[in-house]
Assembly symmetry: C2
Homo-oligomer: 566 residues x 2
Amino acid sequence: MQLARMIDLARGSGTVDLVIRNCRVVNVLSGEIHQADVGIADGIFLGFGVYEGKREYDAGGRFLLPGLVEGHIHIESTLLTPPGFAQAVAEHGTAAVVCDPHEIANVLGRVGVEYMLRSSHNLPVSIFFMFPSCVPATALEDSGARLSSVDVEHFLRLYPDRILGLAEMMNFPGVLAGDEGVLSKLKAATDKVIDGHAPLLSGMDLNGYVLAGPRSDHECSNLSEAMEKLRAGMHLMMREGSLERNMEDLLGVVNDFNSQNISIVTDDRNVLDLRENGHLDYGLRRAVALGMDPLRAVQMVSINPARYFGLNGYGAIGPGFRANCFLVDDLKDFNIHEVFLNGLLLEEHVFESGNGLPVRNSMHVGTEIDESMFAPEKGSGKIRVIGTSHGQLLTENLVMEPLLENGVPVADPARDVCKLTVIERHRATGSHATGFVRGLWLSQGAIAGTVAHDSHNLIVAGMNDADMVLAAREVVRMGGGFAVVRDGCVLATLPLPVAGLMSDKGLAEVSDGVRELDRATGELGCSYNPFMLISFLALPVIPSLKLTDRGLVDVDTFGFTGLWTD
Amino acid sequence: MQLARMIDLARGSGTVDLVIRNCRVVNVLSGEIHQADVGIADGIFLGFGVYEGKREYDAGGRFLLPGLVEGHIHIESTLLTPPGFAQAVAEHGTAAVVCDPHEIANVLGRVGVEYMLRSSHNLPVSIFFMFPSCVPATALEDSGARLSSVDVEHFLRLYPDRILGLAEMMNFPGVLAGDEGVLSKLKAATDKVIDGHAPLLSGMDLNGYVLAGPRSDHECSNLSEAMEKLRAGMHLMMREGSLERNMEDLLGVVNDFNSQNISIVTDDRNVLDLRENGHLDYGLRRAVALGMDPLRAVQMVSINPARYFGLNGYGAIGPGFRANCFLVDDLKDFNIHEVFLNGLLLEEHVFESGNGLPVRNSMHVGTEIDESMFAPEKGSGKIRVIGTSHGQLLTENLVMEPLLENGVPVADPARDVCKLTVIERHRATGSHATGFVRGLWLSQGAIAGTVAHDSHNLIVAGMNDADMVLAAREVVRMGGGFAVVRDGCVLATLPLPVAGLMSDKGLAEVSDGVRELDRATGELGCSYNPFMLISFLALPVIPSLKLTDRGLVDVDTFGFTGLWTD
């Protein structure tokens, strides 16, 4: 619409598209809650006042909140594609999302990022991007792609409105060492937003890191760390995800003078959590339950992240902002009564995407999978075993007597030791490695999956080779996903045909699928979801012992180590 | 310096340029005051920590504040050129200034803006610009230039790093009416910052104005106006200048959730005030005296305006920020102990500018000035007289019996009525007009000046034509400035050779000159500075009766009116 016409409408001349009457506006700009009617035209808020609308919606005195803004999430970890994800979070009041397509970038590189951009183009929920900074995460594994500063420059130039900057710079040792490749990525993103990721980094090393460019951190786990990072000028993203929950430990950092520098983010949100507990609305409930003023909590999931990322037009209700908002019954439970996106009711929107990119054929393991790929290296003496415990990403570097069959170590249900194999799946290099893990609680059968941070190779855990072969083959057949197998039978599968990371189905179907996997792994002895746990067993940046397609990694020395201790 | 080297230094490897030891840092980012040593290299803060410096400065436990940021000022109104101004405010802790060169733009157009840009280039105080939006201010006067949306586009493209956007859009009636020229200027500045200027605008008209683009206001004079503008998403610039002082009336608007959207600005600061009371440090003192928390007050003259304008690297002390800071003894009087700019002591800086632009020859009045130019129009009956009172920009539209000499109305000391003449000085059009003003307190002689908002024509007030001619000629001879004349003698002058608006001398000399003018006008009967008052008598946007070079303007009807009422 012409600006002159919009000005006229804002001034009350003419009939606007929609009036939301009788709201209590949670105004994150003036820092108050005030009664108002809100006029909307052309998907834009006109302001507060006496408007006449083609449609009028009586809010019944409910609280009107601005559409929420997610500052840091990996959409792939929901197992949903951008349209499916957008639809799922829209119901929870989310209107804009800044995501880091780090997972798909590790599988498909540029094509993966392009897919995420195209499949999220013009959705009712605005999806923005940070360009992945660390692909591959390490040199100790085979990922599907390698992204350099040339890619950073290329994408930032090509998509100035959708890619806001450089995603979480996890390689803080590289930054501190002045690594040329790392610094060139930071330089390519100068004048853009650069997100940080530096757990427990402090003191003068933190100075060096912040000076280099990163201006946010979502890894803080304690108060003094959070305050030090705020002092150094970082935007503090308090993480309250499915896996990592830091809010309770960090709330004490908030004072009357610094809260504009703090957002609440999720980082990772699994599909069951999305369905059952919500998205950022969950963060709101939790923050208020922990004692935060509701207005401040709302600012932390709206205007604060919007301003940090320079997202003009998002995160507030006022003239010229996009007409994203939602009604809640109170500021404690935040029960959502109605959601408006771009001036329309949520149910009036469609969440569709068209894309012609080759993201559905990401399984490239070469030859047919057989038992030979699951054979551990030969040796004698004791073996190294990855020790896991539930809910912990850290593993132990255990040394155990192996259980031998014909001189070859095998799984040992009596001691909860399971075989673990990682098979390269991106370029059919044939690279694969086998080790052992304790603590998965599998007593029989096998599970296989293609979600395995950060390279997302095919990872298989099992108590016997035949089931491991079947589980792996089943996943290859599906073009990626999860499979649960016992005694030669496939108990459950969840296909993830999009890059082996995401389903093409919606929230309900995917979360039902996850429940089905849970049920099946329960039959194998697990009382929790073991796919989450194995998805971190190939990530060689979290101590102490991990397995990639190239072999066992001693993370503490950041090098390979043998299965046998002798 | 190479980034890798800076990272090393920040991490404590090597000797940095300067360490400021033993400070209490007023940290506007974390919202606390904390003890620290601060490392600096290459003009950049490295961070807090244990640094070794080539130079070390013991702060003796004093408070370290970030260099202050002025969000809205017209430098010309100080009568100082950018280098002189920068030097004057640097002593008061100011490190960055966003100015609107509206005055010189009305005199010299593009050349004037270029002059301001060039003469402020690379000064120790960073000078940023907003491109003037309303030149000329009205069609009822002859200014020296006319700037259109083409100029806006041109300058924004040419100086993306120095011109931050469009300056105060004073023509809010034009915005609301959808005036094409006005809207095209706003459109040219889309994605840039657009400052507003809309005194008392409220309700749905305010919605229309904000929707059109302006996102700040420095004209608020009461609480409810300020709160309404915050609600609508405007950045509130609380003005505490030499002329207009709104802070006391507006402080009540500040709460714990909105202060990040509020700055303290000066708008206009005269040279005596600068010298005697300071710049933004005065605003700090005043805010704290009025009860504001000192940390919050500091935020309002540092990080808040820096963020509003997107000035990364300004307004805070932390890794990567420019090393602008100053030490004060306490957070009440803010007595300044030492100023650091770009990592150097203030006294190590030079404030020089070179420019070859034709800004020194701005007086173009055509023919020699003689008494004929001071003759009022002929008529009979009563005359309209501009009624002024001190400290008020509003004037009254008085109707009085004229004092006649040979049938011609003349000045009338008995009733404090003085003759007032405005002479076009930009294009030698010969345009001039004469009226009468009551309330100047001139009892004899004449004064003349080239500061007369917004067109800055030559304005002369006097009790007899001979002195008026002499005063006007003296100003023309100086190439612009102020002159005070009595009985054929020049009592005092202050040359303003730069566009007739600014002196090429420094703070001390110019403020001495102003005092000299005060002394001289005191001899004519004034107990205050009448030049400030006459500088607004030609501004036809403030009611009720004004005089431009084209004649008397009835501001209430926004049209010309005759001297005679009949």
